[in-house]
């Protein structure tokens, strides 16, 4: 296990690289879902406010 974490001495480079990549993946998922939720909320609010056409 320690060997695995040590990555043959390259731990300081390998793990940050993985961390950054998965942070980017996580952020993308978060932003995409947030964009959709925001869009849904806005559209619902608009419909509820009675300004929308029938």
């Amino acid at each position: 296990m320690r060997e695995f974490l040590d990555m043959g001495g390259y731990a300081a480079f390998v793990w940050p690289a993985y961390a950054v990549t998965f942070a980017v993946i996580g952020l993308n998922i978060f932003w995409a879902r947030r964009a959709l939720a925001h869009a849904r909320r806005s559209a619902l609010r608009r419909l509820e406010s009675g300004n929308a056409p029938p």
Binding site: F4, M7, G8, G9, Y10, F13, V14, P16, A17, Y18, V20, T21, F22, V24, I25, L27, N28, I29, W31, A32, R33, A35, L36, H38, A39, R40, S42, A43, L44, R46, L47, A52, P53, P54
Partner: protein
Amino acid sequence: MNFTWFHRLGSPPYTYALARRLTPWFAWPAALLILAGLWGGLVLAPPDYQQGDGFRIIYVHAPSAWMSLMVYTSMAVAAAVGLIWRIKVAHAAAASCAPIGASFTVAALVTGSLWGQPMWGTYWQWDPRLTSELVLLFLYLGYMGLRAGIEDTQRADRASALLAVVGVINVPIIHYSVTWWNSLHQAPSVMRLAKPTMAASMLVPLLMMLLGFTLLFAALLLVRLRAEILTRERTSSWIREALRA
């Protein structure tokens, strides 16, 4: 050849519903492939005889770099479709691609830089690949900047679409000139990993990661596309029914 599917995709309500149904079919396989690729790449694959365990960065760097290029190409294709056939959904798709592609370009640059330090002894090297990635980041930023600068949605769509198409034509030219410039100055060896002779145990996880990231892009695109369509079509009558679902 029946092109009904193409014209159907141009209809926002149709594509909205389709995107909603398809997302899990891309998201879950993506998650599985990425996890499997991680396991294969971090645990199962043997260390490289030259780079030791440091080579494992390839399992995040190569997919990120692949994403940055593939997403830009997809964005340009969607933009071209939007320009030629005047399909709003295509423009919405192109807009959805940009932030995804830009963030993975940053990931490619950071992971490439982290890979460079143990391999070349420096965090940054002006090798053709990294330099081209950096230029690609600027192309993304320019695209997003142009979109943000134009208020009218339709004009922003068409202007940024033209920019994307001009950009995609330039990417090979820029890459060629950077490679040529680099070869002149005899920079240290490009990040090679003896690709043809890469062992299957190393290659398979890489392919899984590449495919997993691609499916992830599809899932992310579908989610963002729905958000875009909702925002653009919020005055349309089909929204009420779609939101109820």
